[in-house]
């Protein structure tokens, strides 16, 4: 008797496994974000900074275009490369441009790279609860003319280091850079010089090699790489073709 009553109770309280819930959870619902793929890399030297990004823009398993620039010149001495959701990236770039213009009007000078680094961090954190889906690398020359590279996460945590990579090929490229640029690694404690001992042409060659390697294995990286070099003479741009498969 008792066991029959228990069985009846358990039937009432047990979850109804056979029926499905009124709303079906099959398939992805709408997401405000998309990932357009791509990889960005930057290396800082004693008096130069090299920033590079591939030129492929994708969505899902398709390519949208083979010739899209992920690099944005914010000031004369400061360049932003961002991978992730390019609509958010574009919006972020416009936001920073506007803030830079206001700064120039108020303070009669261009923003320095460290100042822009802080501004970018604050701008990203401002949208802490609906972030910019943007993985940024900021590169340029600091107030003394030394190369500087700042890496960010999507909500604004940042660090100055000698080199950095972000995006879909990050995990392929970062270990190679760690190996080649040991002294400037952000992993070394106590933190040492935040610029590499390489010459400018050595750094550019290293970047070309790393992108070629990343393009082999990462499906979202390829088509071409755009390389921007900042030194005291100004800003220079190079391109190199990558595998289109």
């Amino acid at each position: 008797m008792r066991s029959w009553k228990l069985a009846k109770m358990s039937m009432v309280f047990a979850p109804r496994l056979a029926e499905s819930a009124p709303t079906s959870h099959v398939g992805a619902s709408w997401s405000p974000y998309d990932n357009n793929g791509g990889t960005c890399v930057a290396i800082a030297g004693a008096d130069y900074c090299v920033i590079a990004a591939d030129t492929r823009m994708s969505t899902g398993f398709s390519i949208l275009t083979r010739d899209y620039s992920k690099i944005h010149h914010i000031t004369e001495k400061c360049v932003l490369a961002s991978s992730g959701f390019q609509a958010d990236v574009r919006s972020l770039q416009k936001n920073l441009d506007a803030r830079h213009q206001i700064y120039q009007h108020q303070h009669s000078k261009q923003m320095s790279c460290p100042a822009m680094a802080q501004l970018l961090s604050n701008t990203l954190y401002y949208k802490r609860f609906f972030p910019y889906y943007s993985f940024n690398v900021l590169g340029g020359l600091d107030n003394e003319g030394k190369g500087c590279v700042y890496t960010y996460d999507a909500v604004g945590s940042y660090e100055r280091s000698g080199y950095s990579s972000q995006g879909s090929g990050q995990t392929l490229i970062m270990p190679v850079l760690d190996n080649q640029l040991k002294s400037a690694s952000p992993l070394v404690l106590p933190p040492r010089e935040s610029s590499t001992p390489l010459t400018e042409s050595e750094a550019v060659d290293l970047i070309k090699d790393t992108f070629a390697s990343a393009a082999e294995r990462d499906i979202y990286t390829g088509d071409g790489v755009e390389i921007v070099i900042i030194n005291k003479e100004g800003i220079r741009r190079e391109t190199m073709a990558l595998k289109r498969d």
């Binding site: 108020q106 303070h107 009669s108 000078k109 320095s112 460290p114 100042a115 802080q118 501004l119 604050n122």
Partner: protein, 170 residues
Amino acid sequence: MEIDEHIGCAMSGLTADARTLVEHGRVETQNHRFSYNEPMSVESTTQALCDLALRFGEGDEESMSRPFGVSLLIAGHDESGPCLYHTDPSGTFWQCDAKAIGSGSEGADTSLQEHFNKNMTLEEAETLALSTLKQVMEEKVTSSNVDIAKVAPKYHLYSPEEVEAVIQRL
């Protein structure tokens, strides 16, 4: 009073009003450091204070119905070197090499014009400032009725002993 570690100011007039301006200056300079990780330039700080003076205050509730009745001397050190600005209640500011404000300012200004030169050392400047003050003050200059501060390159308010040391050199 100190506005930031690289900017200080002296006031003349309704000193109660000055405190509102200095407080605003402190907030603006710290906001700048937060946003841009760098010290705010002295001219921009002066401009921020003058903007407040022009509006008679900020916001709907806190704004006053009269101008701030105070002149300020803003002294600071930024990437363009040491500099001095003079503001008045209209919200105008001027850059100066040497300036005096207050009741004895006319005589003091003339005296400064005669004795100032751009290559003065800090000690000579201390002596000149204090001797000019002595001329226009009715009471005798002592370490308890005179304040000295310098921005070289950080703000520092002199202790009574340091003031006494300068008085001895007069």
